[in-house]
């Protein structure tokens, strides 16, 4: 063992760590998100949760969160794949329009989602004998809204990636979890501090997770939550698509070849 060579290896990765805030996400961002998510969930379980459907609520929340997470990650990873394969210039020097690329990605997301959700639900049923489709037909509009939210996050992340390139690629994985604690995925909004509740009620996802718990607890579909979430989603998705289109144009102004 040569201490100099070991230090060489150490510094090879240490220098990477120093390259920017996104490199520090493993040290700070992910632990913080985990502490927030699971800490708040634990507080809720310990202090308030009296329900016998606790497992079902948590696992349905998990499956629902997968819809948003997959929607978001699939959009940005599709873009990143073109970077990793040095194919971006090839792709956008064809007759392909940006809108066509976006539509193709969304079509693929839908197919992947059906597979992911079906597999997840089956796994929950086999492992825990719980049916996450207990929410009934409400699953479909809820899933559609969560998917829209995921695409919005995906296009917002892609806006940064198409402009700044590889150096911000971790945002593809990070962005969804910024909103997870506020979306009240595993616990009611009421468990959050006041300022966080204000943020939570601005997110379309919060209404879905709250709505899911209402359906599981009472069996009634909260139509008002659905419409509020729908309107917020339309605004957010519209904003995300506009942002992505603008950033793509700005990036083309600097040259797509620089991103490869």
């Amino acid at each position: 063992m040569n201490i100099r060579r070991i230090s060489g290896v150490f510094f090879r990765y240490f220098y990477v760590l120093k390259k920017g805030p996104q490199q520090l996400s493993d040290l700070f961002y992910w632990p913080l998100i985990d502490i927030l998510l699971w800490g708040l969930t634990s507080v809720w379980i310990q202090t308030y949760a009296k329900t016998s459907d606790l497992s079902l609520i948590l696992l349905t929340g998990l499956i629902f969160w997968q819809i948003t997470w997959r929607g978001s990650v699939d959009v940005s990873i599709s873009l990143l794949q073109e970077f990793w394969h040095r194919n971006l210039v090839n792709l956008f020097s064809t007759p392909l329009k940006l809108s066509e690329w976006m539509a193709g990605i969304i079509l693929l997301c839908l197919c992947k989602l059906v597979i992911t959700v079906s597999f997840g639900a089956l796994a929950v049923y086999v492992l825990y004998s719980l049916n996450v489709f207990t929410v009934g037909w409400a699953f479909l509009p809820f899933a559609a809204l969560l998917l829209m939210f995921g695409w919005s996050l995906g296009y917002i992340a892609s806006s940064a990636i198409i402009y700044w390139g590889h150096q911000v690629e971790a945002i593809a994985w990070m962005i969804g979890f910024v909103f997870a604690p506020f979306s009240a995925v595993f616990y009611p909004v009421a468990i959050l501090p006041g300022w966080a509740q204000s943020i939570a009620w601005c997110l379309p996802s919060t209404y879905i997770f709250e709505g899911m718990r209402i359906v599981l607890a009472t069996g009634t579909f909260p139509i008002d939550y659905f419409w509020i979430s729908f309107v917020l989603n339309i605004f957010l998705l519209g904003f995300a698509i506009m942002l992505f289109t603008t950033m793509f144009k700005k990036s083309r102004n600097k040259g797509l070849a620089r991103l490869q």
Partner: protein, 309 residues
């Protein structure tokens, strides 16, 4: 012959603390069926120009027209008859050769059978047909370059932009590629814009050559005319006896020279060769071989890089 590509006052300025002009109001045309070489040292603006011609980089000012249509307003329509290949890009390496061609064929509006019918003969011509079912990751750099050329040609483009397509190829394969380009032009009347650092290849293949330097066109002529504009010949002598006297005469006449074992090479004007050889003879220098090389496109390029033009 009509104009395939028309570039007018094309300019690209990268904004920043110190703005940098990569391409400075260049104008040129590419005729239908013409092979145009775009040359210049690194940083001269070749790749920037190609990227603007492809629509992957927005010009600061100026216009690009293909067959009379403005690229900025008819991008998708124009690019359906334009293709591109470069050594510096790649293809999704997880996908097989066939999957990549299927994907690109679809982007150009082709259907499954048509893709196979058009791609297979080209794959065979470039010697990679047996690799069709293999992932791109299993191909060598040279094979990927050939696949890029298949990708560029199988959509039957009317204009093709090639950014150093032979850079990673063995000389025999590079020669085959040049033959293919020449042949394709003869048969289909395709217009080709070609960048390369291999000057012999450019001189052989291109009908016309544009030299860029610091973002500006400094020459636009036939390759042979550009070479002729250089008056410096190379004279190589293998000295049997009198190397020191030869060097003294060269230094006395102010001729640049380089020595390698018993050989010495001079750069001089054509008119200076006879008096120089005469001077060597009078000094009793004995040489066993003599080689005179005419100026080439490479000499022109080297002069350009040395900023002597």
């Amino acid at each position: 012959m009509s104009i395939a590509v028309s570039v007018k006052k094309l300019k690209k300025v990268y904004k920043g603390k110190i703005p940098f002009t990569a391409v400075d109001e260049i104008s040129f045309d590419v005729q239908e069926g013409e092979i145009l070489g775009l040359l210049g040292p690194n940083g001269s603006g070749k790749t920037t120009t190609i990227q603007m011609l492809l629509g992957t980089l927005t010009p600061s000012s100026g216009s690009i027209e293909y067959f009379g249509k403005d690229l900025a307003h008819h991008r998708s329509e124009i690019l359906s008859s334009v293709s591109f290949a470069s050594t510096y890009t790649s293809l999704p390496y997880i996908l097989t050769v066939a999957e990549n061609l299927d994907f690109y064929g679809r982007l150009y509006g082709m259907k499954g059978k048509e893709i196979t019918q058009k791609a297979d003969p080209l794959l065979e011509r470039f010697g990679i047909l047996e690799k069709k079912k293999q992932p791109v990751s299993s191909l060598s750099a040279g094979q990927i370059t050939r696949l890029m050329l298949v990708k560029a040609f199988f959509t039957d483009p009317r204009v093709i932009l090639l950014d150093e397509p032979t850079a990673s190829l063995d000389p025999n394969i590079a020669m085959e590629v040049c033959d293919f380009l020449s042949d394709r032009r003869e048969k289909t009347g395709i217009s080709i814009l070609f960048t390369s650092h291999k000057m012999d290849e450019v001189a052989e293949l291109c009908d016309r050559t544009i030299f860029l330097k610091e973002g500006k066109i400094i020459a636009d002529d036939l390759p042979e005319n550009l070479a002729k504009s250089i008056s410096t010949f190379r004279l190589r002598l293998t000295i049997g006896d009198g190397m020191k006297r030869t060097v003294a005469i060269a230094e006395n006449q102010g001729l640049p020279y380089s020595i390698e074992h018993r050989s010495i090479q001079f750069s001089l004007d054509e008119k200076s060769i006879p008096p120089f050889l005469n001077a060597l003879m009078q000094a009793g220098v004995a040489y066993t071989s003599i080689q005179v090389q005419e100026p080439s496109l490479e000499d022109y390029f080297l002069k350009l890089v040395e900023k002597k033009l």
